[in-house]
Subunit: 469 residues, 2 copies
């Protein structure tokens, strides 16, 4: 079937006006004015709908009645002439010459025109992307994902698919999902009665990855600039608006790059993605700005054009302590050495700096083992990027490239050096200073849309107790 997408009608209306064409899509509403009617059709190719005009005389009574009696959600194929209507709210209408009901809908169709709660829509994940909100969210998600690929590919970065199933734990911490073919009802046992993982599929215990960073470093030491973009997992029993058990991460890793360079790339990437989405999803952003978050477009515009603030953790703590002393109440009091909570992050980026803010050089005891030790011996070359409304969106660091320092750190933390042999090898054979970061992709989509629950930016979210669809 040679159908024209509704997106193409809007893009090429000057050429297509007056021509005969075929459109296929789903009914969003029908108004029957007795001798003629209006069918609002959407085919998902763009945010906007198409108004189809059906005329009783032209179509005949039977066809006309058959169409205006359709339920919302029905799939129609319409052939007709595109008529430009510069004097009406919509720029054109399709004057239907023939209409075929490809698939009827039912009166109990759950996506009715009335406003539904997001909680209800989470129970209808197979249908919710037919609503304006989710149509807009998932288009922005797709466009932002492509913008990320474009950004890195244009700069010569290699896209590397780090493994999902892993026998190691990238952070030396974090709750992980076990991946197994062992039947827990009847596990193979060793002679001393323990579960015999040598009989598991991979011959040892394996988990779902929490980060591709360590493997990305393997490739950065060959290709210079690389990035991952894939799913990562946390088996954390936390039921917040910002956490999911399965989410997508972007993890660039750059050889011969220090913390300043890492922040430069993070900032450039965020601005690039924002600008790309603003250019390619104007209707979607208008929708969010009107119905979800009234300050959204202004904020995105501001971020895309302003320099991000950069402040050391030590100075950030001073700012927060001053705020405390001036009467700001934090649920968790701040002092040097504690990890920053979302409330602190949001204070810094929303109240104090009023723009995205990198906080750098955190105490080493609250950061991961692979981060490069600063000369003061107590902080590491880390940089978290905080954004208004979200808090941390990017966590980056320069990696420890000095073999002796890294080995000492692994020992101090009681980690098994044997597990990190390959990682240490990178420092044995032509190591170099290098840095990278991790971007939580869903947090970026939340930031781009103003949607405040991670469950509403994932196609089929996985959280504690939820793996439906």
């Amino acid at each position: 079937m040679n159908r024209t997408r509704i997106a193409a009608l809007y893009a090429d209306m000057d050429q297509l006006g007056g021509t005969e064409l075929t459109v296929a899509g789903w009914v969003r509403s029908i108004r029957d004015m007795k001798n003629f009617g209006f069918v609002t059709l959407n085919d998902g190719s763009c945010f906007k709908d198409l108004q189809v005009v059906v005329n009783r005389e032209r179509l005949g009574d039977e066809t006309y009645e058959g169409i205006v009696s359709q339920n919302v959600g029905a799939a129609l194929v319409v052939r007709g002439k595109l008529e430009l209507t510069p004097d009406r709210p919509q720029p054109f209408e399709l004057q239907a010459a023939t209409v075929t009901v490809e698939g009827a809908s039912a009166p109990d169709y759950p996506m009715q025109k009335k406003r539904q709660t997001r909680e209800f829509l989470r129970t209808q994940q197979h249908l919710r992307s037919r609503t304006n909100l989710f149509r807009a969210v998932f288009r922005v998600r797709s466009v932002a994902a492509f913008a990320i690929h474009r950004f890195f590919q244009e700069r010569g970065f290699l896209y590397v698919n780090t493994p999902i199933i892993t026998a190691s734990d990238a952070e030396g911490a974090g709750e992980m999902f076990r991946v197994t073919t062992i039947d827990p009802a009847n596990p193979p046992l060793t002679e001393d009665g323990k579960v015999d993982y040598s009989k598991d599929f991979f011959g040892k215990p394996t988990n779902l990855t929490v980060s591709g960073q360590l493997q990305a470093e393997n490739f950065a030491m060959s290709f210079g600039d690389v990035y991952t973009f894939g799913p990562t997992f946390r088996a954390e029993n936390s039921n917040t608006r910002r956490h999911a058990a399965e989410f997508w991460m972007v993890e660039p890793e750059m050889a011969f790059c220090d913390l300043e360079g890492e922040m430069d790339v993070s900032e450039e990437m965020l601005k690039y993605v924002i600008a790309y989405v603003m250019e390619h999803c104007p209707d979607e952003l208008d929708f969010f700005n009107k119905w979800v978050d009234k300050g959204l477009k202004e904020r995105l515009q501001h971020v895309a054009t302003s320099d991000f603030a950069r402040v050391s953790y030590t100075d950030a703590v001073k700012i927060l302590e001053d705020a405390q002393n001036s009467g700001t109440m934090f649920e968790y009091p701040v002092s040097w050495g504690v990890d920053l909570q979302t409330e602190h992050e949001r204070y810094l980026t929303e109240k104090h700096f009023k723009r995205p803010t990198f906080v750098t050089d955190y105490p080493r005891d609250i950061k991961a083992f692979y981060m490069r030790l600063n000369d003061d011996g107590k902080t590491v070359a880390a940089a978290d990027c905080l954004v208004p409304g979200i808090g941390e969106i990017i966590g980056g660091s320069q990696r420890e490239e000095r073999l002796d320092v890294l080995e000492r750190r692994i020992q101090e933390l009681g980690m098994d050096p044997e597990q990190y042999k390959y990682y240490l090898d990178l420092r044995r054979y032509g190591g170099c200073h290098h840095a990278g970061f991790g971007l939580g992709f869903e947090r970026l989509v939340m930031y781009l849309t103003g949607v405040d629950n991670i469950r509403d930016v994932l196609p089929h979210p996985r959280t504690v107790g939820n793996a439906d669809f």
Copy 2:
């Protein structure tokens, strides 16, 4: 550090010739001619190396000796003047003014210049991408992945991240990995002594996905044209050159599209990706053509410009039976109703049609439940795309959009309709004819490179008994 990538030297040599610049990379070889020496450096930004000229007099004895005594693999930072050398094999050299050893290598560096077996290199996955072969493979992989995104995004397809963790089984078959937080040494039990999966993380048994298709259909029924590109899994205990436990799939799904349209998009996509890789990876393809597969470039060129053959399963079986009768020996004899084996697929595409070939309309009993039943009642609207050297690379079909036919099929196969409620809903509320396919991304990379083992096109392959790195 403001370094220039070696790729930029090759791209902009006319502008950069004669200028001072800084390059950083890894030593591939060193020749010491006593008063001067040549260091071959690669920074991973392109396939080609850079020749650095070090001069004893200019650098001083100590620095000079320090450099020429480096081991292969060492990381160097070189500042110097780029000198165009139109009369030499390489178009330019870098005349080193200063050289810094950023990270030394060791004499036991496993990636020596001598030829290593691929089996050995599989034990060195953290270093193997420093060899020509893997440098080329993973660049092609990255460029091909981006080409796929470009192809679909240019055509308005929505990129959708279907879930990795799932409580359902897309194919109604296939060995799956269990994802769990239950400790098999001490599983929670129900009153009647069974493992109590209500205590598992998601409140029920969950697995790693074998396909995102069913969820992609949810989105195709909203957005029209969508695609997934993500990891999928098989817990099959098979040790072949073509199977891995973890691999990446591309799964487009298109509303208002029939089997012909599905084949058109598959063919167009394959040609697009081939052309894109030929344009962006000429050095890599030259390398494969010379060292891995002498017919590669000719074959890719041929495929990019010729029409794919299309033949029904029934006619394909006749061709194979004729071949059998004419003396071709197949390990598995062919007759109508049997599934085609790789040997049959390769005969069709390599010997008979001599180009990529779609085989269509397979017997329904050897295909998945969701494929659309043809009017003959015994075949389904499936299309497998076979390519020379590989066999099946794409499996596609038109999906059964008729609620009653689909419900009957689910019943016949003894599947649980309750598990497919959402899938059936898509046929209740505005269903339409639609089609899609799955492309095994690693098979595509094998096809593009001539590399014949899936373990050598995955950054860190996962196969039975192997989850290292």
